[in-house]
Symmetry: C2
Subunit: 171 residues, 2 copies
């Protein structure tokens, strides 16, 4: 990440990253498919925690509230990374169209995973997909406010505010 | 489009497309950046009509209802293409990860354009972005039902049903 900031994403080679991390290139490729994956390595974990929390939501939670429980779990992890780290990562992604595409694909994956988790809870379609997509819309907007806003905001609160706002918008 | 169906997207060259359309390659490239653009050439028009209809919605329409007016305009054009045409296009896109990425980027563009159109109507953030994203979620789900469901469905009705469902999910 430091290297991407110093040299730009395009200007950083896998050899550079491996050297800075004290790894051989071979070891690097055992963990990452390519250098893009360095930026997205946390996403699978984020998705796993998100899906788990949707599954674990109270049985009587509405579909959207189950997704909100998932977002809350996601917020725990994001808050650990912190807005400063998230802001750096976003600056690297914003500078590179390939990375923006990858980011969109990951977000789309979150929505697909959330819809599947809701169907496992017995939610029918199209409610499952709509609640999932609406939840990801809430995430995207809260996340943007987190990294664009003043340092030190709590992403949990921003997610909660965005959810309330979504409910108002759809009322 | 016929060629993509016959030979697959990868197996079709720009020369093939130009020949079938009775164009020189040079003329082809005057209209399209690459062969992917052939599949997405209608998208700009779709977005323009969408944004125009949001701007033209009654002044007292809620943000989400203004987006719904935009979706209705989009449905007019989609209904002209028909579900058979949309289904063929989707089959080509589904078979190619590059095209799926492009499709996600276009959908993301719709949401960005809708949020801007809402801000022009005086809607503040985050309501503008949330209503825009929620509207695109409605579009995606209605569109999937249109092309996956029985032939001859009216996309207007599916959009309307998805919107009602979104309101129920968010209630």
């Amino acid at each position: 990440m430091e290297l991407f900031e110093e040299r730009g994403f395009e200007g950083t080679t896998v050899a550079d990253i491996a050297e800075r991390a004290g790894l051989t290139k071979r070891t690097f490729f055992r963990y990452f498919g390519d250098k893009r994956e360095v930026l997205f390595s946390g996403t699978e974990l984020l998705e796993a925690g998100f899906v788990e929390a949707i599954a674990a939501a109270p049985a009587d939670a509405s579909p959207l509230d189950a997704v909100a429980a998932g977002l809350d779990a996601m917020a725990d992890r994001l808050q650990d990374v912190g807005d400063a780290g998230a802001r750096k990562r976003q600056a690297i992604i914003a500078a590179n169209p390939d990375l923006q595409e990858r980011e969109l694909i990951k977000m789309n994956g979150f929505a697909t995973a959330a819809a599947a988790a809701l169907r496992d809870r017995g939610v029918t379609e199209p409610a499952a997909s709509l609640a999932a997509e609406a939840g990801i819309a809430v995430l995207r907007i809260a996340f943007a406010r987190w990294i664009e806003g003043p340092p030190g905001q709590d992403i949990h609160e921003l997610l909660h505010e965005s959810l309330v706002e979504l409910k108002a918008v759809a009322a």
